[in-house]
């Protein structure tokens, strides 16, 4: 086999695939953040905790109710989305007329509560979740585990379905209109408050779905969300929150960059995204796909 810059191709493609999976989570999470921010003007700091809840939802469904991964893939995001919508109705709704910072602080506090409760109940170390798709295929240049291939394909489908709904359907056009001028859309007889609740639920559900997908790939742990969400914030700053496609492309792209860094310069792999963020801020402060606002 040819060696590339002294790196065996097995390691290179293996890390690339891992990077792609990370990128899939970045894309799904930043997509949810962007959709929520567009309509609610709230940066959802609870997003990491809701991702973690999705993973725990899958774990609980399996261990307490015996529902396998494929059922959890649907049920867990819906349950987490319902919890999210209740939070929106009770707490977030009161803050829309205030500075964006209050929404961020409130959701930060909610994140602490959720993480604290799960840590108290399940401890800080991870819980294992069995791989629902064991085995893999040998592609000649690398071994492709089935489950990892599934995660990448599934998240791509979810991301593009979201893009399609928002950019190409009538429902999406309502959503985009409400993002621009909620008062006018309301005047046309559309129930904007309900739309806001459902949008929040959708964004949260997307995070929980990413969490379910992550459960077999990583371990299920209460702290899995808080470390991820900070990276996702950097991804959002790099991509800008203006465009759906921008969020998807930036998410996958940065995942791949991170994977490559793990191969060529592992020491920098945890910081490379932040460094890219700093560079982007110097060159194009509004973000790669953002508009100056």
């Amino acid at each position: 086999m040819i060696e590339l810059l002294g790196i065996p191709p097995q390691a290179l493609f293996g890390q690339l695939l891992l990077g792609l999976i990370n990128g899939a989570f970045y894309a799904m999470l930043s997509l949810g953040l962007a959709v929520i921010f567009g309509l609610l003007n709230v940066i959802n700091f609870t997003h990491g905790a809701q991702y973690m809840m999705g993973a725990f939802g899958a774990w609980m469904l399996l261990n307490y109710a015996g529902i396998p991964f494929w059922g959890a893939l649907v049920i867990s995001p819906i349950l987490v989305a319902i919890v999210g919508m209740v939070i929106e109705r009770i707490l977030l709704r009161r803050l829309y007329h205030l500075d964006h910072l209050y929404g961020m602080l409130l959701t930060f506090g909610l994140g602490l509560i959720i993480e604290g409760l799960f840590r108290r109940q399940y401890g800080s170390s991870g819980l294992p979740y069995n791989n629902p798709l064991p085995g893999g295929t040998n592609l000649g240049f690398m071994f492709l585990p089935n489950y990892r291939a599934f995660v990448v394909v599934a998240s791509l489908i979810v991301c593009f379905a979201t893009w399609f709904v928002i950019e190409r359907t009538k429902l999406g056009s309502y959503l985009r209109a409400a993002t621009e001028r909620p008062d006018l859309v309301q005047a046309f007889g559309i129930d904007v408050p309900r739309m806001i609740t459902l949008t929040y639920g959708f964004g949260v559900g997307l995070a929980a779905l990413a969490g379910v997908l992550a459960a077999p790939a990583y371990q299920v742990s209460p702290t899995m969300g808080s470390s991820l969400i900070i990276v996702v914030f950097a991804v959002v700053v790099i991509g800008g929150m203006g465009s759906i496609m921008g969020a998807i492309v930036t998410g996958f792209g940065l995942g791949i960059v991170e994977g490559l860094t793990k191969v060529f310069y592992p020491e920098a792999s945890s910081t490379v995204i932040f460094v890219i963020m700093a560079l982007v801020l110097m060159v194009k402060p509004a973000g790669l796909f953002g508009t100056a606002k």
Binding site: L101, L105, G109, I230, V231, T271
Partner: protein, 337 residues
């Protein structure tokens, strides 16, 4: 006509002239209490409160007076703590030079972080500072001189200026008190200077401040550096108190804690962060045995503070006082008529 003006004139002058001594008297009483406090309360606890109070005051300079929420102030607090601890423990610096090194480092770090962060506003500013602080956290985790997970422990308390013994807590207390008062006065002066007024103008309406000819970005950067340096002062001082610099000081939870202190005390008030720091540190002391519940309780306080009392303890107090003052002058005015 003439009588009314002649009677109101002295009233207003006496009101303004008596107001300044009032704050001075209150300040002197507070200082006297702080001087006597270590004989009644455990000094290490008081020193911890003062370190965090200074940290929160420095943070409030950004959030309360410039309107920028930094979610990464732990990097200045913890970064300066590492530099100070390293300088004293490994390089053999004296405490005052160690603190100076820490503060300088925090200021320089603040300059570069600020240069990047002020390119975005509002919510993005918060995300950028958080990400930069996380980058710094990973740097500290991997760098050799920080001691990784162990941190830098048993930092010696050398003689201050070469002759003042600070190995006893009670001696160190007065040094920490002096630092706290110094930092507090710097912030007080900054807020009440023309510079501070421009910061408030930028907070209220940035485009307008720019159109009046103020270079908003330079003001914001300077405020950021000042805030970072003072946060660094707090972090370095903490090293002397606990003889320890660790990853806890640079983690994002620390940035969250300082936000909580400022929010609970009252952002945009001078004393708010001090009160908030006292409340939160006391709470942590009492709840230390509860483990993970501390995180939950902090989250609950966040949610309650944002939902119910956004002005914070001091802010609500000031609002109530203002309300009664306004009502009193209104009834007094009516009575005169």
């Amino acid at each position: 006509m003439t009588t009314s003006s002649s009677t109101t004139a002295p009233v207003t002058t006496s009101a303004t002239s008596s107001r300044f001594p009032m704050t001075l008297v209150i300040g002197l009483i507070a200082v006297a209490l702080l001087l006597a406090a270590p004989f009644a309360v455990y000094p290490v606890f008081l020193m911890k409160v003062m370190c965090f109070a200074l940290f929160a005051c420095a943070f409030n300079l950004m959030l309360g007076y410039t309107g920028l929420l930094s979610f990464g102030h732990a990097m200045f607090f913890g970064g300066s703590a590492y530099i100070c601890a390293h300088a004293i423990k490994v390089l053999g610096f004296s405490p005052e030079l160690g603190i100076l090194a820490g503060v300088l480092f925090a200021a320089v770090l603040g300059f570069f972080a600020g240069l990047l962060a002020i390119r975005r506003q509002g919510i993005y500013f918060a995300m950028v500072t958080l990400a930069l602080a996380q980058m710094f956290f990973f740097f500290c985790l991997q760098a050799k001189f920080t001691g990784g997970e162990d941190g830098l422990q048993a930092v010696p308390r050398r003689a201050l200026l070469g002759f003042i013994d600070i190995t006893k807590d009670i001696h160190l207390y007065y040094f920490v008190l002096a630092i706290f008062l110094f930092g507090f006065l710097v912030i007080y002066r900054t807020i009440h200077s023309p510079f501070g007024q421009v910061l408030k103008a930028i907070r209220e309406n940035e485009p307008r401040a720019i159109s009046l000819g103020y270079r908003a970005n330079q003001y914001k950067l300077l405020a950021f550096v000042l805030s970072a340096a003072l946060a660094g002062l707090a972090g370095s001082t903490k090293v002397l108190v606990f003889q320890l610099a660790s990853l806890t000081d640079v983690a994002w939870q620390m940035s969250g804690e300082v936000i909580l202190m400022t929010l609970v005390g009252g952002m945009g008030t001078i004393l708010g962060p001090v009160v908030g720091a006292a409340v939160i540190v006391t709470m942590q002391n009492y709840l230390a045995g509860l483990g993970e519940w501390v995180l939950v309780i902090q989250g609950v306080i966040f949610v309650l503070a944002v939902s119910l009392f956004r002005r914070g303890i001091v802010g609500e107090f000031v609002a109530v006082a203002k309300y009664y003052h306004a009502r009193k002058t209104r009834t007094a005015g009516r009575a005169r008529k």
